[in-house]
Symmetry: C2
Subunit: 201 residues, 2 copies
């Protein structure tokens, strides 16, 4: 119904997560009818990002720099490293604000069925960090899924071989969460991982 | 928190309608982590569209061609023309499927407060169509808002001056709509625009 180039644009916008045919059409109309400047800026920024954004040579997070700002920050504690699945996980932990060490981004988890092995997760680079002598603790914050747990297990073994202490972030009932709305798997885990109640006496 | 170029991308994505900070971040991560090919295609298509999409020289709808496919379609009836506010309105009417004439796209409505007068709506081009001698009926399908009605009134006067019959599409309770959920303005309009009930005898 629209001209070929507009149909191409609507199709291309559908690659965005959460964007169906109707929103893609609304977005295309908005960009072409209301805000060509913003559309041009988006096109150029996206092209630049696709071309220039790579991975930090130390922690593998997404960045256009060789070493990311966080790895370059001399105030971050160099003796602890937190392993996460995605760059968005780094953001979530930074927003929580109580961790001051470094990160290591796997960009996924072990998934033999999809051909994702240790190579794709940068385990060789992680081993270099483990062998470097600076690290005192590796904190594993992969997701509490079957694949995330298997990945955590694999990495914990590598750290143990190098004599680096390993920990896993706690999983359980979220703070402020009401028990009746928590799924069974989380509740079961919370019971299995219960800790002694300190009475302070 | 992200690198400058990624922050730029997140900001640029927020120009899209309905996209807040969280979705922009999710989109940026998706494009850079999961689908660089789609991201590159989107960047190039958007750049092309911004550069090449203009307006049809006959009906003013968005197109990269001089004359759009619809105006070029010899099977469309040339004696009727439907005036709409946006290219998306053309799509909506085409999807209904019972109109076979031509269109004229205003790209807005009269709005003196925003400096939108007859010039920005292409009224001079519309007058050429009215004077051309081919048109028998001008169907006004601007929105049933204060501005849409004022625009309809203005255009109806131009058509009357040229001796072209003018009609306005009907507004009222949507087919399948339940009265209790229809807003008061629509109901009031439906009462004022009531038509005689034909008993078929
Ligand atoms: Zn880094
Ligand atoms: Zn046209």
């Amino acid at each position: 119904m629209f001209s070929p180039l507009i149909e191409d644009l609507i199709r291309a916008l559908r690659c965005l997560p959460g964007v169906g045919p109707k929103s893609a059409q609304r977005m295309a109309m908005y960009l072409l009818e209301k805000d060509r400047d913003a559309a041009g800026t988006l096109a150029r920024t996206l092209e630049q990002a696709v071309e220039k954004v790579g991975r930090c040579s130390q922690c593998r997070t997404l960045t256009e720099q060789d070493v990311c700002a966080l790895c370059n920050n001399s105030r971050r504690e160099r003796q602890s490293m937190c392993v996460v699945e995605t760059p968005a996980d780094v953001l979530a932990i930074e927003q929580a604000g109580n961790y001051h060490g470094r990160y290591f981004v796997l960009h996924g988890h072990l998934s033999p069925i999809d051909g994702v092995g240790p190579d794709s997760l940068g385990i060789d680079l992680l081993e270099q960090h483990l062998a470097g002598g600076e690290l005192r603790e590796l904190i594993i914050a992969t997701n509490p899924t079957v694949e995330g747990e298997a990945t955590a297990q694999f990495i914990a073994e590598r750290a143990a071989e190098r004599g680096v202490a390993v920990s896993r972030i706690a999983h359980g009932v979220p703070i402020g969460g009401e028990l009746e709305y928590i799924d069974g798997g989380t509740l079961a885990h919370a019971f299995n991982s219960r800790t002694a109640f300190s009475t302070g006496t």
